[in-house]
């Protein structure tokens, strides 16, 4: 298949799945089975498309002169499509187990919007210009809203308000502002390697324009626009997996990276020093979120703040504006996705099997759920950055990028952050395996259903595989 066919397949298959979900709403097994099946085909397509460089632009439609919805495969985009495409069937399998195991209602609605969200993520990944990216960015926001408020409780509605309020407001106030600003300045919205901005703007204003994007892309959860992510924790765990690993926050940091590389251009950013301020904002976000994570005893809340911290790494990679840092940031999208989805899968498995959400109640749980906890340990170590797990590489590359750019203090930030990661994630593993049970946990092995266990083992192995196959995931952005 040609690249253009693959693009349409990646965009169309999730839509097809969502339609079939509605059609088969009265036959749960068939409904869920087809989603899984289409998910596998999508994954295969994403693998096939991965690495396509200088692909042809496919134009879907023209809103008005200069405003096209078009798609251009490029290495970074196909990497994000790969992450979303491969994790989707895994997450679907897990969702099937979780929704049945936890007794959640309205499966059809849930599966429907889940598939739409994947469609939107694919649109973002493969977008050929800023307008297309913005269109799918908003589709992703609105399609995940029903997932966040799935439970329909007062708490869920409140979380939905925070979620939508921050994401929509930031995107229509800052992001769209930046996009139209770019349009007026350069006359184009297309992503081009090397960027399009150089020569069109007084370097004095570049930091402000960059700020419109850094804070306009609320999905990147850069502090202080991070509140929506912990708020969304009230949603069922498969949603957390979608938010934290498969689509939403990844779409955010991907957008930051894509804009930095293909609109601003990393050379332009470095030469003008326009992103220096962002280095410090991202560093602050990394450390502050890690410290907040330490104080949280709700497992999902702790993981949420861990995500905010880890997203800071990717924004940092964009802000450092060196080739090595950008490659490290791109790699971290994949590495963090594999690691964090494992952690959330484990959190959901713990909830389904034992209805526990607080870390203090999980003492000794590792002996009851050895497989889950082993997988958790893999994910945690990858996030901390311990070899032979994927997170090690991206951290090293980011450090190298910081050195290239002379930001020695950033090295310290990254090291302190790793230490903090070790403390707040390590605590969970240690309590699980070594602490004395304070809570009544039944004797013998009590794991979650196989449809949940299988995905979390798979994603744990992905973290290992990513470490050894890292060559395939190091992208070169020139500069």
């Amino acid at each position: 298949m040609g690249a253009d066919m693959l693009i349409f397949a990646l965009l169309g298959l999730p839509l097809l799945a969502s339609v079939l979900v509605l059609v088969l709403r009265d036959r749960p097994n068939l409904r869920d089975g087809q989603a899984l099946f289409i998910g596998l085909i999508t994954a295969a397509c994403a693998v096939n498309l991965y690495g396509t460089a200088d692909g042809e632009t496919v134009k879907l439609l023209t809103l008005a002169a200069g405003l096209d919805v078009s798609f251009t495969p490029e290495p970074l985009g196909t990497l994000f499509a790969l992450v979303a495409g491969v994790l989707w069937p895994v997450a679907t399998l897990y969702t099937i187990g979780y929704m049945r195991g936890a007794g959640e209602k309205n499966h059809t609605r849930f599966m429907f919007f889940y598939a739409i969200a994947i469609h939107a993520a694919m649109g973002i990944a493969l977008s050929g210009n800023l307008l297309t990216l913005f269109v799918f960015y908003e589709i992703l926001t609105f399609s995940t809203y029903p997932l966040v408020t799935h439970k329909g409780t007062a708490e869920a509605i409140q979380a939905g308000r925070v979620y939508l309020g921050i994401l929509v407001a930031s995107s229509v106030i800052f992001l769209l502002f930046g996009i139209i600003g770019i349009w007026v300045l350069t006359g184009t919205l297309d992503f081009q390697s090397g960027g399009i901005l150089a020569g069109h703007i007084d370097p004095f204003y570049v930091p402000f324009l960059l700020g419109l994007f850094a804070f306009g892309i609320g999905k990147a959860a850069l502090m202080p626009l991070h509140r929506w992510l912990p708020a969304a924790m009230v949603a069922p765990t498969p949603v957390s997996a979608l938010l934290h690993a498969v689509a939403v926050v990844k779409a955010g940091v991907f957008t930051v990276l894509k804009v930095a590389i293909y609109i601003f251009g990393i050379d332009f950013l470095r030469q003008t020093g326009s992103s220096d301020w962002l280095v410090w904002v991202a560093s602050f976000s990394i450390l502050a979120a890690s410290i907040v994570a330490l104080t949280k005893t709700n497992l999902k809340a702790r993981l949420a703040y861990s995500t905010i911290s880890q997203l800071g790494y990717i924004v940092l990679g964009a802000a450092l504006a060196t080739s090595l840092a950008a490659s490290g940031a791109a790699l971290h999208i994949a590495a963090h996705a594999a690691g964090k989805i494992t952690l959330f899968f484990c959190a959901g498995a713990i909830y389904v099997a034992h209805h526990l959400t607080d870390i203090k109640d999980m003492n000794g749980l590792g002996r009851v759920m050895p497989v889950t906890y082993a997988a958790f340990a893999f994910g945690a170590l990858s996030i901390i950055g311990v070899p032979p797990l994927a997170g090690a590489w991206s951290k090293i590359m980011l450090m190298g990028g910081a050195l290239d750019n002379g930001h020695l203090l950033v090295l310290a930030v990254l090291m302190i952050s790793s230490l903090l990661n070790l403390v707040y994630l390590g605590e969970i593993v240690l309590r699980g395996f070594f602490a004395k049970p304070t809570h009544k946990i039944g004797a013998g092995v009590q794991e979650a259903p196989l449809s949940m266990l299988l995905p979390l083992c798979l994603t744990a192995l992905m973290s290992v595989a990513l470490f050894f196959a890292v060559d395939m995931f190091i992208l070169d952005f020139g500069g």
Binding site: A65, F142, R161, V168, V172, I173, L176
Partner: protein, 494 residues
């Protein structure tokens, strides 16, 4: 036949009105109104096509008397764009009116209702078509007087319609008077009322105080008629207490016609080069526009009655149109035309959907629609899409409006104003989402009346919804037409 279309467009509903008043029997008057508004819509689409293919203005000499002696009707790129908006909305609103009027208005008054209905439509079409400044006043009064009557007809169901209509009458008359005083000054200065003639002769007296005073009077009168902040207080009660069909028609068209007339006179007669226009009136319009955008949006957030809520939102949306006008540039004017068009579609959809609810439940408030998302999903989805368009979500018409409006501001280096525009459009999320939460995330209270929906209820609203999405996805022709319309009044590179 073809050359008479410009005048037929206005004459059909105008002559149909007395006929409708005489018709007795169920649905006769409605049938006539439907036929005539349908014909007017068809004619305006043909005129648009004709004007587009010719490329220049089509001039119709009324009674065969050429300008400047006689009155002319002018179909140029601007009027050709606005006519289908007015007549199209009128047509769809007439489709919906049958059901709404039956529910809300005493059967004995139906014939009179449709007579006034046709008159107000004729008045609006006339204001858009005519090339004569005094003729504009005449049509303005025709449409306004019949509109006061239409609003007052809401009294059968809601007595508050009477004070609302009275306030509307007083303020509307004040506005019209200001306009006609300004016109008198112009006539005194130039001795002509033909718009083209006026603009030529005004050049000689440009620096006189009288000319500027005339501009000020005309602008103020039209600000009142278009409900520009802070002259908007008549609008909310008038829309809220009027019969639902009238709310839909007026919300989507009435103020837009005044916006068009303002553009026609400000740019077509006085011209952008006119002394003091850009720095005095332009700045004033920009300021009032952004103030109105915030005032309307914030008031809408606090509102619990849906008709009032969306009427307040109209104040904000008119503010955006004013911002486009105040930018004093080709893109700004094009943005104003784009938003004039798009806003008519969105508000048409919203008010038709809300009307379907209000006609059943007696009123449409946040309470009425609690949990209604499951009971009347198709109607509520229309409100959802209309609301998303108001926020300016991509793939809806509202997005296109916003993009061009902000583009116009950035081209003029109004960065702060662009930022404020974004903030106020984001605030629209608050009032739209209030409705979504009430409809979908709340349970329907026990004992709440059961709402029903059949195609009769939702087809008119959905026609507008499809248009809202259609012009959001394929906006190219509209953008081109809007730029052509703007180019009638102002030069500059696209």
């Amino acid at each position: 036949m073809m050359q008479h279309l410009p005048v037929l467009q206005v004459l059909l509903p105008l002559l149909g009105a007395p006929l409708a008043a005489l018709l007795r029997g169920r649905d006769m008057a409605w049938g006539l109104a439907l036929l005539l508004t349908g014909a007017a819509f068809l004619i305006s689409v043909i005129l648009f096509g004709l004007q587009y293919s010719v490329g220049t203005a089509l001039i119709y000499d009324l009674g065969g008397w050429p300008a400047p002696l006689g009155i002319v009707y002018v179909i140029d790129a601007a009027s050709a764009l606005v006519l289908p908006v007015v007549s199209g909305i009128a047509f769809v609103a007439t489709i919906a009116a049958r059901r709404l009027v039956e529910a809300e208005i005493d059967a004995r008054d139906h014939a009179l209702f449709y007579a006034a209905w046709l008159l107000t439509i004729a008045g609006m079409l006339g204001q858009v078509t005519t090339g004569d400044a005094f003729n504009i006043f005449v049509f303005l009064e025709i449409s306004s007087l019949s509109a006061y009557a239409l609003v007052a007809m809401g009294a059968g169901r809601d007595r508050r319609a009477l004070p609302a209509a009275f306030n509307y009458l007083i303020l509307g008359t004040v506005g019209a008077t200001f306009y006609v005083i300004g016109l008198g000054l112009l006539y005194m200065l130039t001795g002509t009322l033909n718009l083209m003639d006026l603009s030529e002769r005004l050049a000689e007296v440009e620096s006189t105080r009288a000319a500027f005073t005339a501009l000020a009077f005309i602008a103020l009168g039209l600000f009142l008629k278009m409900a520009l902040f802070p002259l908007h207080f008549w609008l909310v009660p008038a829309y809220a207490h009027a019969p639902s069909a009238v709310s839909a028609l007026m919300a989507a068209t009435a103020t837009k016609v005044s916006v068009y007339v303002l553009i026609r006179l400000m740019f077509g007669v006085f011209g952008v080069e006119f002394n003091g226009l850009a720095d005095a009136i332009g700045v004033l319009i920009l300021t009032l526009g952004i103030a109105g955008a915030f005032a309307g949006t914030l008031a809408a957030i606090l509102e619990t009655d849906l008709k009032k809520l969306f009427a307040q939102s109209s104040i904000a949306q008119l503010g955006y149109m004013a911002i486009g006008i105040g930018a004093m540039s080709l893109t700004g004017l094009a943005a104003a035309f784009i938003h004039l068009f798009n806003h008519a579609l969105m508000k048409g959809a919203l008010f038709l959907a809300i009307g379907a609810i209000a006609a059943q439940a007696g009123r449409a408030s946040m309470q009425t629609i609690e949990g209604a998302g499951r009971q009347i999903p198709i109607t509520m989805t229309a409100i959802l899409v209309g609301g998303l368009a108001l926020i300016g979500v991509p793939l809806t018409a509202g997005f296109i409006s916003k993009v061009y409006l902000v583009r116009a501001l950035l081209e003029q280096d109004f960065w702060l104003l662009a930022g404020l525009t974004f903030i106020s459009s984001a605030l629209a999320l608050a009032y739209v989402w209030k409705i979504i939460e009430a409809a979908w995330l709340k349970e329907r209270p026990k004992g709440a009346p059961v709402l029903v929906e059949t195609p009769v209820h939702y087809v008119p609203a959905w026609l507008m919804v499809f248009a809202t999405i259609g012009f959001g996805v394929f906006a190219g022709p509209l953008v081109d037409a809007a730029y052509a319309a703007a180019a009638v009044f102002i030069g500059g590179a696209r």
